[in-house]
Amino acid sequence: MSDAVLEVEDLRVHYLTRFGTRVQAVDGVSFSLKEGEILGIAGESGCGKTTLVSGCMGLYIPPLHHTSGDVRIAGKSIIGMSLEQNRKEVLGRRISMIPQGALNSLNPTRKIKDLATDMILSHDESADKRDIYERLRERFERIGLDAAHVLNAYPVQLPAGTKQRVVIGISTLLNPKVVVADEPTSALDVSTQKAVIRLLFDLMDQGIIASMLFITHELPLLRHVSSRIAVMYAGEIVELGTTEQVIFDPRQPYTKALMGSMLSAEPGQRDRKPVAIEGAPPNLAVPIKGCRFAERCPSVRPDCKETKQVIRLVAGREVRCQYAS
Amino acid sequence: MFRGLLKSPAFVVGAGLFLLTILVALFAPLFMNVDTQTRVGLAYMPPSSEHWLGTDHLGIDMVSLLIAGLRASLHVGFLAGIVATIVGTLIGVYGGYKGGLIDDVLTVATNLFLVIPSLIVLILLSSSLDEGRSLSLIALIIGCTTWTWSARAVRAQSASLRGRDHVSLARINGYGTFGIVTLHILPYLLSYIFMVFILQTATGILSEASISMLGLGPYDSVSLGKILNEAIRNEALTDGAWWAFVPAMVLVTIIAFALYVINTAMEGVFNPRLRK
């Protein structure tokens, strides 16, 4: 267990809508991330993966609230910290995020070097500015950027691929134990995407990133990036296993449907009819009694809507379905 | 969207002030005797408990004059605002949607009007009309010379909507320019046009105050600008009769200020990029 860099234990996170309704976006998620591993979180929009990210980082800013459960990074819990404490000790240093739409997360009115310096100073006020610049230069060169040019530029002057590298560079300056990449390449074209993933692998190999949580809805990407995959649906993990298990031998009905719906340009795929499921995920503002996928499940049985589904071990991986075999 | 406006303190202050002046203008006559004809005292009597702001050069109650003037100025402002907004919107939305040659021609026309100093036109038109100068006519003249701002503002918005998917869909449903502009562009611009109208009204009030101050205002009615004009002509300030000039000036300034503040607040809400 001491191998685990990030442990999430029965985490439940909710947010309050404008009208005061409580939406349980993450409802009992548990997993652990080992050092040196990339764990993929797969799911579609609305499944709770983005809320899970905020939860793992301790970013419980209203309307987002922590309901119950624990999050531990390198053994120390981050639940219950004030935001101030969280910002100082946790964010950027123990756990860092590469956000979705990273291209817009850079403050357009400041030079890259100033943004990076601010990041460092917010964790260590006593750091020497010149020393910082040297280290920034060294780190940026290491990640394949023309440091002198990039550091002195404004975000708007840089192309999309370079900006993505800069964001990754700044997020990993302090060698965080856990890096959370939330759809880091969805807005990029395929060639840039490949380059960014290569960069992430490189950073892992160099020890700059110890372990990574990779969140995406693109399954083929996870096939190549992660060693284990957790599939989320309606705020819960429905299947968690190795990449081989989840992609090639899914056991839970939603995972099966998701894998079956993939369209790829590989020979033989034209004869395969992709799986289609009617309906939409359930409304999480309303407490759900039984299985959340029961409404749409092609193998639903009469008691699925009544019995709450718990995680079981099936064929060497975790599955949330009482009838999976 | 309007909830956002109510959250902005600037909007609440501006709207509040403006609403107050409108209420006073509309309802004051119900509570007090607004009499702009009767001499109630000597010329330039200072403020007293009977006549809160004294009398003018003819001995008429200043408060009555101010209320009547306020009503007239608001009348001109709103009418001019309506005219300018309608003209400007029609030209702007059409040019913005069509683009190309039509847009170029309309833009040139707009720029021409922009370059001609509207005050000069107003002065020329007003002086040639002499006795025919009614409040409504003045409002019309102001409206027809100050629409250029609306045209440019609406044009930009219309052009940005041109490429939207729902407009493309309407086109492939066979709708022509008129149908698309009325059904698919104007509804999306309604709140913007309202904001434009507020600004045009402010312009109207100020324009009226300017030309009336120069003595080219309405022939028969009282207006805030006319009050100022009379005060200047009868040397009220040198006589020390500040009450004949200052309150009218303050009223004009308050109205203009309120309307500009409302406009800024609305810009902030409708144009999120400005918010930061």
Binding site: S45, S126, I132 | D165, S168
Partner: protein
């Protein structure tokens, strides 16, 4: 006997945008043919020109040079574009932006009848709208009196398809019809499109960045890059034996389930954090 004209034929077709000093060549001298009842996909990354080309097929953009004909006659020859739209229609990527937010969805479906030369009677219009809704598995009651924002993404997507059932065109231009749809619902949309194709004997032109989708549905794939068509051909040939370097690069860069994607070397030695004075307490 003369062969039937192509559904679409393009010869040296270009579309250039001039904005002050800046000139952008969106579509660069392309030539191709699309046959009746064929399913063709225009595939490429964003900015490659596929959307502008699709708009030209749809007569929403005019070529700056070259020829583009439909059923043997140049597009734009007829003054009234409605003749073209009676035969060529489209579904768009984002169903919420494709409809006006101020009118009910049913009234907007009815507004499609505006295109007809002879408008059917009000009762027939209502019937046809109902039939179109049922064809996409929506009960008319479900959308009664509702505005677009009151419906789900899946329902709105089907509204775009219902409109096609009402209009019954010969050609459908489908612009990224599944990119904003859940993976599990994607196949449903494709099913409806195939159902439409069979029933109306349509020719379909897909515009997409997803080569997997193009591979699955198409009879012919056009790969576009920087305004040019760099590769044309049947899906198997294009994906297994690409002739253009760009296509090879593209296929290489796309992560697939079965093929290898990135080679990973052995781990390198550890690197100091960029701010060395920070001590990490384990």
């Amino acid at each position: 006997m003369q062969a039937e004209p192509y559904k679409f034929e393009a010869r040296n077709l270009s579309r250039v945008f001039r904005n002050g000093k800046k000139t952008t060549v969106a579509v660069d001298n392309v030539s191709f043919t699309i046959k009746d009842r064929e399913i063709v996909s225009l595939v490429g990354q964003s900015g490659c020109g596929k959307t502008v080309l699709a708009k030209m097929l749809l007569r929403l953009e005019t070529p700056t040079s070259g020829e583009l004909s439909f059923n043997g006659r140049p597009i734009g020859a007829e003054r009234d574009p409605r003749d073209h739209w009676r035969q060529v229609q489209a579904v768009f990527q984002d169903p919420f932006s494709a409809f006006n937010q101020f009118f009910t969805i049913r009234s907007q479906l009815k507004s499609s009848f505006h295109l007809f030369k002879e408008k059917p009677s009000p009762r027939e219009m209502e019937e046809r709208v109902d039939q179109a809704l049922l064809a996409v598995n929506i009960k008319p009651k479900e959308i009664e009196g509702k505005y677009p924002f009151e419906l789900s993404g899946g329902q709105m997507q089907r509204m775009l398809l219902a409109r096609i059932f009402i209009l019954r065109p010969q050609v459908l231009i489908a612009d990224e019809p599944t990119s904003m749809v859940d993976a599990c619902s994607r196949a449903n949309i494709l099913d409806y499109l195939m159902k439409l194709k069979e029933e109306l004997k349509m020719t379909i032109v897909f515009v997409t960045h997803d080569i997997g989708l193009a591979y699955y549905v198409s009879d012919s794939i056009f790969i576009m890059h920087q305004g040019k068509i760099v590769e044309q051909g049947p899906p198997d040939r294009v994906t297994q034996h690409p002739e253009s370097e760009w296509t090879r690069q593209l296929l290489d860069d796309i992560p697939d389930i079965h093929r290898d994607w990135i080679q990973r070397g052995p781990p390198k030695s550890a690197v100091e954090p960029a701010a060395g004075t920070i001590a990490e307490t384990a």
